[in-house]
Amino acid sequence: MSQFFDRREFIKIGSGFLASSALVSAFPYLPFSDEAQAMVADKIVPSLCELCFWRCGIDGHVKDGKLFKISGHADHPLSNGKLCPRGTGGHGLLYDPNRLRTPLIRETHQGVQRFREASWDEAITLIAKRFDQIRDNGDLDKVAYFSHGFGASFFKRLFKAYGINLASAPSYAQCRGARDEAFTLTFGHAVGSPEGLDIANSKYLVLIGSHLGENMHNTAVQDFSNAVSAGCKVIAVDPRFSVAASKAERWLPIKPGTDLALLRSWIHVLLAEELYNRKFVQENCLGLEELRAGVADATPEATYAITGIDPETILAVARDMGRFGSSALVHPGRHVAWYGDDTQRERAIAILNALLGNYRQPGGLINQTQMYGVPNPYHFASSTRASTPFQSRFPLASEAPSNEVVDQTLAGNIKSWFIYGTNLVQTLGDQESTKKALGMLDFVVAIDVLPMEITGYADVVLPEVTYLERYDDLDDRVYRRPYVAIRQPVVAPLSHLDAKPGHEIAALLAEKWGLAGLFPPIEEYLDNRLRAAGTSLKVLKDKGVLVKEDPTLFRQPGEPLHFDTPSGKIELSSARLKSLGFDSTPQYQRQPENPAGYFRLIYGRVPMHTFGRTSNNRFLGELMPENELWINRITALDLGLKDNESVFLINQEGKKSISKIRLKLTERIRPDVVYMAHGFGQNDPRLEFAYRRGASANEMITHLSVDPIMGGTGFKNNFVTFSR
């Protein structure tokens, strides 16, 4: 009989929440009546989630104009009727008492800067005029547009028409950029989002730090769970015993920073023992011999000394990979900005998959190319006075790294930021540089739903309505089951707030800038697009999503493959990298070691939150109100630290956390690292729930290990110790 925990484990969280909820209960955010019966919806509205970028189909259950429940939309291929806890609690954002209420304009009053409430007309007029001055001075190339989230598309269109070219999203250099560049270098296309991975059919799944299950992308976790249930063997490489590791055949508690060495060793064994798919490699890959020479030193024995993973395990996993061949998959991960060697590490992952021959095979990498097919009858012209495109100093940066935009701002080359839905202060690492850059800017505009910290640095703040109150553009990304889905208002915008949807804000600016016609009324625009696809807005509003099948997903026997690389083949060795002065095959370089008395800080995700975006959501806060710092139990006891004790963090540069974090003493982590969920420790008191609740991982990340290939910011070479 198992030793069962009793439910106090959760109640403790619940009552902890209660203790502080007297404060928030004064706000009229609770959408429920006090009627404690199960509620029956008078209306169920299909739409799209925005609690993370997976963008699942949802059903909003509405009674008397109030949204009381959100469930997964049955037909949407990204939700299949299921939903993660974040999406389920999305109305915690809708009814958040701290939402921005009106446009705000910075003013100086008796020597003190403060915000004053403004009308939309005043705020929009001010923004339009300031940008017109910038344009008249010929300085449009000194403006940067930062964005995160689906609503960003309207502003991209607006700025393209106005002549602003520099668009940057932290989802590139701070997250998946290195992965996309590495796979493009190797296979000629990126992994995509949602990832083109046939996890559900995989028989042997290798996870490099990916903590599926805690990293809760709905369909990816559905697939993972189905694979595990069907007997897929999982190999979890992680300094922490993750939930995925608990379902694994083997957990490899690797020394952090050495993943690339391990990957090279697996390549070494696959080649040395001729375990790779020779036919596939012969027909489709270039550079095998150069690769062989490039990993010649990576014997399991040499790799043991680097990674701490014993040679027998390295060999056994490589042999199993070879045995499962095209039904084995080495997962490319998603947030890969770790150590600055990230493009090369991702290259090693791409190469391993190539050697296994799993390309477009069940259980392997798939190439999602098919869209549902929604023509856009609108042709939006670019400005004739378009500014010079941003030139990254990183040779393979296909998007502008946000950290480089900060650097350029500090160098005086960028003067204005327009920020949509991304809390840059808690996103980019090296907060001091970001704050310094913000201080140097002539003009900053921020659009957000909540008073995120970044809005406190803006000259003008524009409040947007939540994803549950607005239309956005159609979602018709490539996916294995191509679809077109609609985001529509589930409820009317809350009447006590003077917030607007993004498309309306963009239209107001367009009008001031003489770009009338750029944004037709949204329903007319959506209907015209959908009619061009043979359907209508009415159908989509009713069904939420239309889905097709993609018969081309898997390779037909004998089907020739062409790759969009310079050679047309999968490039095991990259001539492109070589010509730019980088290693043509992945080489390992040592990462910095822990200074004495310090622990490497690693971080990750939890199913109940999407980084800082949800940390003020009271509903999700009930599931997880704050983060905790995982530390090896024995190590902590040796240091005299106690379970549940709250400590400040101090990093290798002496930076002390603004708030304390509770210690979680656990066996589930290596002695040389500590781990926390990111997104907590918010530092804007206007976020009354999230303010200084737990600690911020981003705040401790003062050192960025920048990837010289594409500019990604490696976050994991930072180290912390504790202070009471």
Binding site: F4, H61, S246, E622, R633
Partner: protein, 182 residues
Amino acid sequence: MSRERKYAMIIDTRRCVGCSACVFACKTENQVPEGFCRDWVVSITKGSFPNLSLVNRSERCQHCEDAPCVSNCPTEASHYQGDGTVQIDRDLCTGCKACMAACPYDARYIHPDGFADKCSFCSHRIKAGLATTACTQVCPTSALKLVDLNSNDGQAEALLRGREVKIDKPHAGTKPKLLWLL
């Protein structure tokens, strides 16, 4: 009159990732007040670094066949519904907490409005002809299944086949109806 049903829940811990979607889906479906819950997730770690195991498990009222909450309820508010579930008649409940003291699974709480409350297996949904509870419907990993043990549809049998099955506190003699697959 159709045959008598006997609802139970089969919970596959191999599938569960402990995400807590079940917890919040239940809260919204059943209007569970802030600070309380009818279902919850426990994580059980065993062993020491690096030889570890971890089981995540969603828990709720066990809908016992021999339920101490029913036998200990002085007002007959807690009762068997005849479909294998245990329910609470709020009009009869005085909030005396005898059921809470009797329940070996700590499955109940006192609602701020003064009555005992707990998981109903979404009785209102079952009565409306739905085959799922809010938690089984939302579960991203399909770890939770509501089954009718009296049905001959083969669903329960298929889920249980070849799997090690655990019930909680068998020594309590309550004949609980949450079945965990290891």
